[in-house]
């Protein structure tokens, strides 16, 4: 069988061997880790890459004239190439490293928001944003006098597209900032259409891809996006490293975010001049080891292939929706047509925290709470839900274990 005709099937048993933590036992039970949307587990390739860097080639980047620094700089900068390839960026200079998605969005809110958006212009978000794509815009509104508009979410948990378009109609929106995949509902938003509508009304568009990049291939140019943010630790990489992609012309027109070393061209007491993009936005010693770990994570994901990952997660999600529908008293939040491997639910007669504690005692890790999306919770009349989320290592048997465990939880609280 040649490479092209290889079916998009993922060998989960083989993949699980790559993740040392999955053999751990919790409360004497086999670990069933269904909290990857909060942070994914790490394959040995990532662990090894970071350890090897520390053991064999480590120094600060961009400043040493010695072998160690040159080697480390090359490894750090190679991650920029890997990210550019991963998301289809036009050039490596469009990749800015941040701490996480939150910092990437704050960078845009601070720099593009204050430097390019004018008071009175609006930023349009959706009703299913993570707080990380809501609070920075509130802060910009209060500090800079922009207007904040919120496009509603339908009962099915999808973006209300007619309402979204109506909010663009007056041409007052300077920037649309919307999630590419909801961390609560699993809804994948129609990003290409959102970008087309935004551009037709004179707005730029930023996508929060924290969840989306884990589940499907992203091509920022095909989407016609202007900014795209994601974080490494959900993509099987380490914490502390995130990415902001921006169109080069936009990044070049933006003022720096943080000031300090590495982001300057020259400094005198009278004035400083800025380094070229992307370094203009990377003040101080960056997350060197984490960048090296992220590159390993990207290589790992690319070797499996997004076709296989997407097919696996679609099958898992279908299986989960089917199994949870059979558990008496379970209600799944949202029923979007296009969705990824995140399923939020409530259980009659039991609060989400109690559900999570009882699942934990059976070795099953889920998240419970408002998932950093309080306004979305209120939209559905809830304070909290339990959430199961899937990764490349998740099996159908683990979802069966969840459904069976929920039956026992229901009986406990009956």
């Amino acid at each position: 069988m040649n490479e092209l005709s290889r079916p998009a099937v993922l060998d989960v048993a083989r993949i699980r061997e790559d993740f040392p933590i999955l053999t751990q036992r919790v409360h004497g039970k086999k670990l069933v880790f269904l909290d990857s949307a909060a942070s994914a587990q790490k394959p040995r390739a990532v662990i090894d890459a970071m350890r090897e860097a520390m053991e064999t080639q480590y120094a600060n980047v961009h400043r040493g004239l010695h072998w160690m620094s040159e080697r480390t700089t090359a490894a750090y900068e190679a991650t920029r190439d890997a990210v550019a390839r991963l998301i289809g960026a036009a050039s490596r200079e469009e990749i800015v490293f941040t701490r996480n998605s939150t910092e990437a969005i704050n960078l845009v809110a601070h720099s593009y928001g204050r430097g390019v958006l004018r008071p009175g212009q609006a930023v349009l978000i959706s009703g299913m944003e993570h707080h990380s794509n809501l609070v920075p815009w509130q802060m910009l509104r209060d500090a800079h006098g922009i207007e904040l508009r919120v496009a509603p979410v339908t009962d099915a948990g999808e973006l209300d597209m007619p309402a979204f378009e109506a909010l663009l109609a007056d041409g007052g929106v300077g920037l649309v900032a919307i999630t590419h995949m909801s961390n609560v509902l699993g809804t994948v938003t129609p990003a290409a259409r959102i970008a087309a509508l935004a551009h037709a009304h004179g707005a730029k568009v930023l996508f929060d891809g924290s969840q989306a990049v884990v589940h499907r291939r992203i091509d920022v140019q095909a989407l016609d996006a202007d900014f795209y943010a994601f974080t490494g630790h959900k993509l099987y990489g380490p914490t502390g490293i995130g990415v902001l992609w921006g169109r080069r012309a936009l990044l070049e027109a933006m003022p720096p975010f943080l000031g300090g070393g590495d982001m300057i061209s020259s400094v005198t007491y009278e004035r400083s001049t800025w380094a070229a993009v992307p370094h203009k936005f990377e003040a101080g010693t960056p997350a060197i080891l984490e960048a090296i770990g992220l590159a390993a994570a990207i290589r790992y994901v690319e070797a499996i292939g997004y076709d296989a990952i997407a097919a696996h997660e679609a099958a898992l999600t279908d299986h989960a929706l089917g199994r949870l529908a059979q558990v008496e008293g379970v209600h799944v939040l949202g029923r979007a047509q296009d969705r990824g491997g995140v399923v939020s639910f409530t259980l009659d007669g039991a609060h989400a925290h109690d559900v999570a504690t009882l699942l934990d005692r059976q070795g099953i890790a889920v998240r419970a709470g408002h998932h950093c999306a309080e306004p979305l919770m209120r939209r559905f009349g809830l304070d909290s839900t339990a959430r199961a989320s899937f990764g490349i290592y998740t099996t159908h048997a683990e979802i069966d274990a969840l459904a069976e465990a929920l039956d026992r939880v229901r009986a406990f609280f009956a």
Binding site: H27, H351, T357, R361, S384
Partner: protein
């Protein structure tokens, strides 16, 4: 299956969580405060009516939270009437000690009241749930101190 969880979810807790006796706003009250746990979204409003001298005569609450949060608020509301504000402070300290260490005060202080709150002692084995148990107490403390809001963070 859940034998080891019976320490946390004792029958008293499940009962008070399901059928709280004091989960209502007081018709007449002297102080009220809201408690928020921003990390998990639990929310409780506590109303306090004062009696003669420095005493508390009635407590009511409304909670959006888990079984531990609701049961703890209910047991607190059951315990406080007749106690003075100073006694509330001692009791809150003793209660906080019990849900974090599992131990009641060594000097046997407020023995009778602690007996009533004892079913919550199992919480100490679940560090992430301690805040659920203390939220209503924080709100009551805020109400008695005349501040409208409390957080269990």
């Amino acid at each position: 299956m859940f034998d080891d969880l019976r320490d946390l979810y004792q029958e008293t807790i499940l009962d008070h969580g399901r059928h709280p006796r004091h989960a209502h706003r007081l018709e007449a009250f002297d102080a009220t405060a809201r408690g928020d746990n921003p990390m998990c979204g639990d929310r409780v409003q506590v109303w306090v009516k004062r009696g003669p001298g420095d005493t508390i005569s009635d407590v009511g609450f409304e909670a959006r939270g888990c079984a531990i949060c609701v049961a703890s608020a209910d047991l607190m509301a059951e315990t406080l009437p007749g106690r003075t504000v100073a006694e509330f402070g001692d009791l809150f300290d003793a209660f906080r000690g019990m849900v974090t260490t599992g131990k009641r005060p060594a000097d046997g202080a407020r023995e009778e009241d602690m007996e009533r709150l004892e079913p919550l002692s199992g919480v100490h084995e679940f560090p992430s749930r301690v805040k659920c148990a203390t939220l209503a107490w924080h709100a009551a403390a805020a109400a008695l101190a005349g501040s409208g809001e409390a957080s269990s963070e």
